[in-house]
C-alpha cells in the first residue's frame, strides 16, 4: 500500500483524470473531494460491500437453499430467533400476502 501524508487543501492524482483533495480533517475524520470522469464509479467501501453482498444474495435463493437455512435456524444451529414481542412485528395479513395460488 502506498502511504502519502497530505495537508488540508492538498491533493493527489490517480492516473490522469482522478483527483482526490483533502477538504477538511478533524479528529478521526477527513473530508475528501473527488474529481473523476463520470464513467468512474466512486463508492464508499461500505456501500460497495453492500452492493457486492446484494449481488451474492440475489443469486443464492433456491428452494433447497431456503429449506436448508430454515432447517438450520430451527434446529438452533443458527443463533437466529424469530422476532420477539419487541422485535419486528408484522401486522397480521397486512404486509405479507400469502404466496401461491
Amino acid at each position: 500500500m502506498l502511504v502519502i501524508r497530505r495537508r488540508v487543501g492538498q491533493s493527489v492524482f490517480i492516473g490522469e483524470d482522478v483527483e482526490i483533495e483533502i477538504l477538511d480533517a478533524g479528529p478521526g475524520k477527513v473530508k475528501l473531494g473527488i474529481t473523476a470522469p463520470r464513467e468512474i464509479l466512486v463508492l464508499r467501501n461500505e456501500i460497495r460491500f453492500t452492493r457486492e453482498e446484494n449481488l451474492v444474495a440475489a443469486q443464492g435463493v433456491t428452494p433447497e437453499a431456503v429449506q436448508n437455512l430454515v432447517a438450520r435456524i430451527r434446529s438452533g444451529a443458527s443463533p437466529v430467533r424469530g422476532a420477539g414481542p419487541n422485535g419486528n412485528k408484522l401486522a397480521d395479513g397486512e404486509i405479507l400476502p400469502e404466496s401461491g395460488p
Partner: protein, 154 residues
Amino acid sequence: MPEFQTRYFEQITYLPESVIEFPLGLPGFENERRFLLVEQELNKPIVFLQSLSRPELCFITVPVQGILPGYELTLSAEELHTLDLAEDRQPVVGEDVLHLAVVSLAEERPPTANLLAPVVINWRKRLAIQSVQTDSSYSHQHPLLTRDLELQCS
C-alpha cells in the same frame, strides 16, 4: 387484484397497497423500486423480499432483532426524509419501522447476514431503504452459524 409470476413462489396475488417502494432501489439494484414482503408459515422466520419487476429477483431476509437483539439503528436526516418519517428523532423499531437483514446464501461459504446495511421499512407508508450504517462496526457478512458448528460442518 394484481397477480405476478415469480420464480420461487409461482403465481402471487397481492393487494396493491401491500407493495413496498424503495425510492432509491438497493445498492447494485438501483432500478428495482417495487417489492413485496412474503412470509410463509413453512419458512418462518424468513421474510422474502420479492421484486415486482424481475420474477427471478428475490432476497432472503430475517428480522435483525432475531439475529442481534439490541442492534442500534441510526438513520440520517436524509434517510428519515426518504422514509417519510419525523426527522427530529430516530424511529422505534417494531413500532415505526421494521428492519430486516439480507441473507447471503452462497455454496462456497456459510450463510451470512448483512448487518451493515439493514433494509428499513416504514410499513405505514410502505416506503423502504437499505440503510448503510456508515459509522457502525456491524459486519456485512455476519455469520448465521456459530463457529463450532462451522467446524463440525467442514
